[in-house]
Symmetry: C2
Subunit: 202 residues, 2 copies
């Protein structure tokens, strides 16, 4: 459990805050389902970490909206943003509840597994080994979607999360890649990322 | 607002209850985003109706789980199902919050619209006219995905919702179809469904 710091106001555009909350909450649902399906504690812990982040973004957004609203008219208009942001926060809470089934060893019930299994694609995380053929290359150079049917949906770089990385984003040694794709290609890609396999099969 | 009836226990498999809760909650997020993006009150009202349904399913699931648990061991195992179901319920609540921005005329803030716009596909609903070329035909006979790039994600038939309809499901006059697809093909399909256009363009 990370120590919780007091959230201090800093000026960030509401657009940026809300966009990140929405993207993170959607990513978290995917991560949480996969964590529950494969009893993957690492993924589950990512979800719990991201939930803290969404909470922080939510507080910042609320503060920003409050400061922006000068009168009743402003307040009425801005309610539409804070309501939508609160919904993203609720979605992230739901994802965290699912992840807690894994981290607290409550045990994922076979019924839940069966229902989550309908998601055909698998979400995986792997840490980029310095020797990996993907290290220091741009996402588009890997041509992952076409060659392997794998998508990089997020990159965890130290304390930062890059959601839906751009095609020109450079993958660095030490990055943790979160991918989505078919089960066999996902396995192959994990081996590439971790430096246990040298070449992409074409 | 539909009148709320007391939820009475009836024996339904937990698997069925949870599967429907998960499917509905995911559909609701899509519907709610589209309702907010296009200020579509009909879609928003569908979301609010489905939220009641998910609540009812949640109560039934809780009752079923309680009856199934005979001892501490059972209770420990079954917590994994009720926690996951509670998460699906939370997701559906979040969708309803977004829909309420539309139904209560709070007004969708431009920032929210901008962020939701990143979803390229549009969700649409249309009622099947008796004269429509899609009436009384099976989903697979329309060959929608290949010919128009449109997917039927749900059918509302009177009080019933058919989520992810099977390929052999027969579309009846009076059904309300919920589809997802590109904007121009969605418009064309809506005209077909409502009997304002006679033939699919190929």
């Amino acid at each position: 459990m990370p120590s919780l710091e007091r959230v201090k106001y800093r000026p960030v555009a509401v657009r940026e805050l809300f966009l990140e909350m929405k993207n993170l909450s959607e990513l978290m649902i995917d991560l949480a389902y996969s964590a529950a399906l494969f009893n993957d504690k690492e993924l589950a812990e990512d979800v719990l970490e991201l939930e803290n982040r969404v909470d922080t973004l939510g507080y910042l957004l609320e503060m920003t909206v409050m400061i922006a609203a000068r009168d009743a008219h402003d307040a009425e208009i801005l309610t539409g943003v804070s309501t939508a942001a609160a919904a993203a926060d609720k979605i992230s809470d739901a994802a965290a509840d699912i992840a807690a089934i894994v981290t607290q060893d409550i045990g994922v019930h076979p019924i839940v597994t069966e229902v989550f299994e309908k998601v055909e694609e698998r979400v995986m995380q792997a840490k980029v080994n310095p020797d990996s053929p993907v290290a220091e290359r741009q996402v588009n150079q890997l041509d992952l979607a076409a060659r392997m049917g794998v998508d990089i949906i997020a990159i965890r770089r130290g304390p930062d999360w890059i959601i839906n990385p751009r095609e020109t984003e450079c993958i660095r040694s030490g990055d943790v890649l979160i991918t989505r794709g078919g089960q066999s290609s996902t396995k192959e890609f994990k081996e590439l990322v971790e430096g246990k396999r040298r070449k992409q099969e074409t």
